[in-house]
Amino acid sequence: MPQIFHRSFNTISKVSIASVVILLIGLTGATYVVGWSPYVTQEQIARVQPVPFSHQHHVGQLGIDCRYCHTSVETSAFAGMPPTKTCMNCHQEIWFGSSMLEPVRESYRKDQSIAWERIHNLPQFVYFNHSIHIHKGVGCVSCHGRVDQMPLTYQEHSLLMGWCLDCHRDPKKHLRPASAVFSMTWSASAEPSELGDRLMKENHIRGVEQLTSCSTCHR
């Protein structure tokens, strides 16, 4: 039987095998890079909202407590979103003529909710609960970043499983006293170094096995 392929095809076939392998590795790598990129996780991307509500203004400058608006954050899984009535508590007088606030007044007049764009959005097969984190001393700022410096709200962290686990494996350095949970500026560096150990004990933080067990978050 005569040779069908020229000798050089030996090299070509080797090169193509190698390049398929390299391509696959590259694609897998690219998948992760893309999959964990802000484009997919939506972190650091500010959303356009029906009203340009600014935490920087309300929290940073006016010093309003998170719980004034996110009333259920201490007691339930869901942090709670302020109904229009909460905005009207102040805006029935403050900036009442402003056109920027017209959607708020319209919503109040017509009894229709303001449709805020959701920013954080875990897949529904994940169970997350605010109240336990608040009660065990994890501050808002540890997960949401410096909200008081956001003119428009964005997601600070990826919210990927690895991010949750990073903390669940070693929550000690993220714990703070109950009085500092809502503070955006508290820092552990001014505290005695054994604070973390003390809070771990006082708050009865469970072991790594339980906090990283799949059924803690996938139930």
Binding site: I17, L24, L62, Y68, M81, N89, I94, Q112, Q124
Partner: protein, 248 residues
């Protein structure tokens, strides 16, 4: 021998390639389930809300009974307002009856119809809770000292009366002149629950027990301005004396 002459290898490679390419794109059905998440919009209900308002008359699980002293600003002699309302209605139906209603109306307006008692024992823990809640919901207007110079007021909101030095505007409107520090606690509860004038109501933001805790704390602010050193327990007195000595 060639590597591309079996269909199996080629198809396999293509499937693997496509699979890897597509995998980041797919969030499985498990990620978006038909159940509503809190406050998610709905296409089913005409108002677009998945969180449904309660139907009138719904009794929520664990809801405090309307007869509970937690719920009412009124004192025991008028715990239920319905008889008064009925009387007033009768009064309109029967002009002579108005006369019989007058003393009752007077009682409604009178300071004494508000309860002067807390529905539960006020402890230090309650005061601490009241302080925390006051700092969340009231401080922005009434300021930490209760004088009404909060940040929102500085930005142009109506100036509230001082809890310590001013008269109650609500009672003034009914022709009764009384300092806010002499007003019965039930009145504060009512103002938090229903608002008054430019003061918004906090019915939905502050649960019942917290409202009473806030009232207890306001009382503490008021008392603190007129407390005499002699009235303090010995330990506290010593602390103040030491502090004074230290500053000298």
């Amino acid at each position: 021998m060639t590597i591309f002459d079996t269909h199996w290898t080629r198809n396999g490679a293509i499937a693997l390639l496509l699979g890897t390419l597509l995998s980041p794109g797919c969030q499985q059905e498990m990620g978006k389930q038909p159940a509503y998440r809190p406050l998610e919009p709905s296409t089913f209900f005409p108002d677009g809300r998945s969180a449904r308002p309660l139907l009138p008359g719904t009794v929520a699980r664990g809801q405090v009974s309307p007869q509970s002293p937690l719920q009412t600003p009124w004192g025991s002699q008028r715990s239920d307002p319905t008889p008064v309302v009925t009387l007033v209605m009768q009064g309109f139906a029967n002009p002579l009856g108005v006369l019989s209603v007058l003393p009752v109306v007077d009682r409604i307006l009178a300071v004494g119809s508000y309860t002067a008692e807390f529905p539960f024992q006020v402890t230090e823990a309650i005061l601490a809770r009241g302080r925390e809640r006051y700092d969340i919901y009231c401080v922005v207007c009434h300021d930490p000292t209760g004088n009404g110079d909060g940040i929102i007021v500085q930005r142009g909101y109506t100036h509230p009366p001082s809890y310590i030095f001013d008269h109650s505007r609500g009672f003034e409107r009914r022709g009764i002149s009384i300092l806010l520090r002499d007003v019965p606690v039930g009145y504060f509860f009512e103002v938090i629950t229903n608002g008054y004038g430019a003061m918004p109501d906090y019915r939905s933001q502050v649960p019942l027990r917290d409202r009473w805790a806030i009232v207890a704390y306001i009382r503490a602010i008021q008392l603190s301005q007129f407390a005499r050193v002699q009235s303090l327990p010995r330990q506290e007195r010593r602390r103040i004396e030491n502090a004074l000595e230290g500053s000298r």
